[in-house]
């Protein structure tokens, strides 16, 4: 047990840290105004230009020359920086404004899409959503498509995508490279119940509004899982229960070249691939020959493109049909059909369980996508969002979307969701902004100047929901960490519920180190009816409770804390 006294634990005080940062004001700086004017005047210039920038005042000069490579026809540019050695590096243009930066927290509605495509190639460019191929579910199934749409977030308009040099298909691999949408493979229904599996691909450049064909891949046609590594599109395996594929390939657009990758040690038929920054993790189910699993749990493997090697993941506790995963916060968050979730950490090569998703059970395979800090999960119209900061899932379901086909796409810091009612055919384009959508409005801020012993009160500490039973727990948290949350004798027991956690003891409180910082709170929790005890760490931000929802921390002015209603 570690109880941290925030005032005396650190020998280096907060103000000392800031003092050290203030010493940076003594750093000499280059005068770049001439460079700014040169760049500002040359947005349409063709070819490569170089200019030399002044060095530091009286110091060793930084001989940086900056050049532009402007593709005038494209209207976009890449710029290249040189050190004195003439070694160049490509630098992609960076969108500097998020078009959804001002979208309201939570759900909001955008212009209705012309169609809602499932299993399509989708990509977010920074300002446009590109959708190509896929099928539109229409009760008895829909036909695959060879066309697509563009949603331009800057003007809210939907427009057709130029014709692609590809046949209609679903389940293609897709990636946004920073300048192109890459599409490869996929499948489409053929005659006599057979599927046509494609081995071709194309790339769409929004700047030129043109497609180009990809060179032939060194593997045969299939509907693979895929990731974009920042350099290559890796395609692997096949989401096809009639095929057993352990091979794959990687396409490098800068070289316009494919390479084969090493064969994997596992087969998967229903899978998701995520890119960790170093490895491609494929995770899912092996359901060959039907809907029956060949393994006791979901399985996975990790491919290292630098070494061209695979390793197997340890087994998870998720059901053998689980095949949905997303990468967030240094972990792969995986979901199963029964709304169980777990997190895999490549640095420890271990799994840890997460609380189940707080949704009513649906007979439905989940889908998920991630943005920085959050995972959006869709269970056939019921949605939940996982926040890495508080390590919990939140129910974000809208009753009006129950039973809808939802197709979520990560768009910067916003989730875009295309939806279609299977009953009425109504379509919606929605945005979910988790920025404040999981926080409580109007909550008082923690005052770090409160006297020692000041007590913070968690007014309403809503735990997860199971069916319609809500477990509301009030609790008390001392700044110094001595006080425990309310125990069963406090009268603040959970109202009712099949599954709930109960805070048993606060182990430590770390922070806050700054007025807006999160507290790091370690707690020992009893799960369910006490049969299992776990220790977990939470981040408690001002304006949020341990769940990041409802009215959370309220300063109690140094008086003994009282539990909320």
């Amino acid at each position: 047990v570690r109880v941290v006294d925030c005032e005396s634990f650190w020998r280096i005080e907060m103000r000392d840290l800031k003092e050290r940062f203030r010493e940076a004001d003594g750093l000499p700086t280059p005068d770049l105004w001439d460079e700014v004017r040169a760049r500002g005047a040359a947005p349409g210039r063709e070819g490569l230009a170089r200019s030399t920038r002044p060095g530091l005042d009286g110091r060793k000069p930084i001989t940086v020359a900056v050049a532009f490579m402007v593709f005038a026809a494209a209207g976009t540019f890449a710029w290249v920086a040189f050190r004195g050695t003439e070694t160049d590096r490509s630098i992609h243009p960076v969108p500097v404004e998020d078009p959804f930066g001002d979208v309201e927290p939570g759900w909001s509605e955008l212009p209705v899409p012309p169609e809602v495509r499932s299993y399509a190639a989708t990509a977010w460019t920074g300002s446009q959503l590109l959708v190509w191929g896929g099928d539109e579910f229409a009760g008895s199934g829909g036909g695959v498509n060879d066309d697509g749409f563009i949603f331009d977030a800057t003007d809210g308009a939907w427009r057709p995508l130029p014709d692609a040099p590809l046949n209609a298909r679903s389940f293609p691999a897709a990636a946004w490279t920073g300048s192109e949408l890459l599409v490869w493979g996929g499948s489409a229904p053929g005659s006599f119940g057979q599927y046509v599996r494609y081995d071709d691909g194309a790339a769409y450049d929004p700047a030129t509004r043109r497609w180009r064909a990809l060179p032939p891949a060194p593997i045969d046609g299939r509907a693979p899982v895929s990731v974009w590594t920042g350099e290559e599109l890796i395609v692997w395996g096949s989401q096809d229960r009639e095929l057993r594929r352990v091979d794959g390939a990687a396409y490098d657009p800068s070289e316009d070249r494919w390479r084969r990758i090493a064969d994997a040690p596992i087969e998967l038929t229903d899978a998701t691939a995520v890119w960790t920054g170093e490895e491609m993790i494929v995770f899912g189910a092996a359901l060959h020959g039907g809907n029956f699993p060949e393994t006791p749990t979901a399985i996975g493997g990790a491919y290292d493109p630098e070494r061209d090697t695979w390793r197997q993941l340890p087994p998870s506790d998720l059901s053998p049909q689980a095949h949905t995963a997303a990468w967030v916060g240094g972990e792969m968050i995986a979901l199963d059909y029964e709304q169980g979730t777990a997190a895999y950490d490549p640095s420890t090569n271990g799994w840890r369980p997460l609380a189940d998703i707080p949704l009513r059970f649906y007979e439905c395979s989940p889908r998920s996508v991630a943005i920085d800090g959050f995972v959006f999960a869709n269970f056939c119209g019921a949605t939940a969002v996982y926040s890495a900061a508080v390590d919990r899932w939140h129910d974000t379901a809208r009753p009006d979307l129950s039973g809808w086909v939802l197709e979520p796409v990560a768009a910067g810091q916003t989730f875009l969701v295309m939806g279609r009612s299977q009953e009425s055919g109504e379509r919606k384009m929605l945005a979910f902004n988790p920025l404040d959508g999981l926080q409580c409005a109007g909550t008082q801020h923690v005052d770090p100047t409160q006297p020692e012993g000041a007590t913070y009160v968690v007014e309403r500490f809503q735990r997860m929901r199971f069916d319609d039973a809500r477990a509301d727990i009030g609790g008390i948290l001392s700044l110094r960490g001595e006080a425990a949350f309310a125990d069963p004798d406090s009268g603040l027991q959970p109202l009712v519920g099949g599954y709930y956690h109960f805070v048993w003891e606060v182990l430590f409180v770390d922070g806050p180190l700054g007025p807006d910082d999160a507290y790091e709170v370690g707690v020992r929790m009893r799960i369910g009816l006490g049969e299992r005890v776990v220790e977990e760490t939470y981040f408690v931000s001002p304006g949020r409770n341990l769940e990041g929802e409802h009215c959370p921390l309220v300063i109690d002015g140094g008086r003994p804390g009282v539990a909320g209603p």
């Binding site: 750093l27 700014v36 992609h92 900061a389």
Partner: protein, 151 residues
Amino acid sequence: VERAGLEGIYREHGPRLWRALLLATGDPEVASDALAEAFAQALRRDSDLRDPAAWVWRAGFRIAAGEMKTRNRVEAMSVDVVQEMPESFLDLWAALRRLTPHQRTAVVLADYAGWSHREIARAMGSTASAVGVHAHRARRRLRELLEDRDA
């Protein structure tokens, strides 16, 4: 933004923005390129910007983040530019190298530039709560590292 007006903003904010970018990236080339590109883009936008100073700060950090993402591995932070600074600052400089890019950006913008977590989140394309976690972990790690060095 008129050129004269933007030049004034450059004179007032440019040096501090460059230093903040340097602290966050550890690379004077990236800091210079990001700063120059941010102001150049502001110049091209003429009067589109309501708050040009805030815009170039955000743009500078986003451009720098984009540049750092293109690098496969974290490169050693340049020491040339800071070698004549006081030892206490060099300790901080060395400690910053041990943080993740997100942690470095969060703590630099919070403790050097004085931004709120919401402002940092907007510049980083993240959320205020995530920034709070990054900043908290960054400060804790910095203190551990600096105390080790002091000891």
